[in-house]
Amino acid sequence: MAIEFFNDYLLSALILGSIYALGAIGISMIYAILRFAHFAHGDALSIGAYVALPLVALGVHPVLTIPIAMAVTAVLAIGIDRAFYKPFRKSQPIIMVIASFGVALMIRAAIQLFGGVDDHYYWGIQPPMEALEPFAIAAKHFYIFGSVIALIGATHYLLAYTRTGKAMRAMSDDADLARITGIGTEKIVIWTWIVGAALAAAAGVLLGMDTRIRPDMGWNLLLPMFAAAILGGLGRPYGAIAGGLVIGAMEELSTLVIPGDYKSAVAFAVMVLVLIIRPQGIFKGRVL
């Protein structure tokens, strides 16, 4: 019974939750520092997954493509910021939100143009490892969890111990005070894109390792990632990690009591409930 629970629910809950967590960190930080809901964040996951695709085809191990996918996506994110968001920096947030919606459509169209509309895979179905019977753990699970732990560890190091990371937290706490303190806020904005986009790209590769690669893979995760960021408290990166794990777990465990087709409604329900009951989220973030 416990083993079945692990195989059928817990394992997938942890994977899904980790992917949400990595995506939600960027959504949360971008909301706090740039003050808008970044609707193209899901598509940053897709970019990451598709950047890895040709490398995997050349024989590079998917795990080793992660840093490359992160770097390429971060550079693209900075370029997109310069071209589409920076001109609106002083406008109302809703204009940035709509701009990001447009960027999301463009990214997806570009992916369909260059990557086609069919599903892609990094590898075939991975059988569970016999040595770990009766647990249905495949090699990919080690790669995914190992990567997640390394990425979250690196993010923690950046935010808690580096000058730039602390300034990012300071700016997401209070952007005006950060400016008064002498922090070069435009530089922190660039770092926010680097970190947010890189983690999203990594999440995209991990999602591709777990399932498949398709043009709308990231867009479909936007809602649960937003739910995770709001649940954790906007502007609170550690909250986003916790929120991602909780949303992932709730979605997977919900299939115990409701049909699996309704899984994605769970994130939506959680988001609405949080906004009504505790809009600042678990970790006391900003109110939407």
Partner: protein, 244 residues
Amino acid sequence: MSLLSAKGMTGGYGGMDILTDVEIAVDANEIVVIIGPNGAGKSTAMKAIFGLLTLREGSVTFDGNDITGSAPNRLVPLGMGYVPQERNVFPNLTVRENLEMGAYTRRDDISGSMARVFDLFPPLKDKHKQPAGELSGGQRQMVAFGRALMTEPKLLLLDEPTAGLSPLFMDEIFDRIIAVNKTGVGILMVEQNARQALGVADRGYVLATGRNRFIDTGANLLANHEVAESFLGGGNSEGGGDGD
């Protein structure tokens, strides 16, 4: 030659002038206080000096540099620190991290400055690992001061440092301001507690409706009958709402 010299400052928000031809000067190691009724433009004048408000006319020089319209990330390295009245700490950062952010523009060793801040504000030392948002109002004010002191500034701008504090804490904060000043830091502050502030000030500026009304030493302003009558009375009713 003054450390800070602002001349002919005219400007405001959204096309409306709040300040008209305001002059403010601070010499090295001086405590200078700006008083005046609500809406007189006291905080606005301070923000204009710190580049948070674009002046239509006028100039600001600091330590020999023309800083008119300069952004904080240029002013802070020059040796000017600003403590806003509200929202003046990073609530989710620890006390120590708040102080580190104060030194963001510095690339050298900051441990000496950190030790000095802890000497000035002993309660912060015990709470250095605690998020600043969890501290009491008075202690938050200490964090805010400490943050601004981390660059070893020549001049500290304080916007109503005792606003919202209990009388006990007010005395404490005034004592700390004097102590900071004794370490060689010039102070320019806006204060509602005009009498107490003028008592510690070398010089004072009385603003009303966005213009200079009186400029004199703290003691002379306290002794001035007209100032006492109009600006040090029980409340802020006289002239209140003028510049709003």
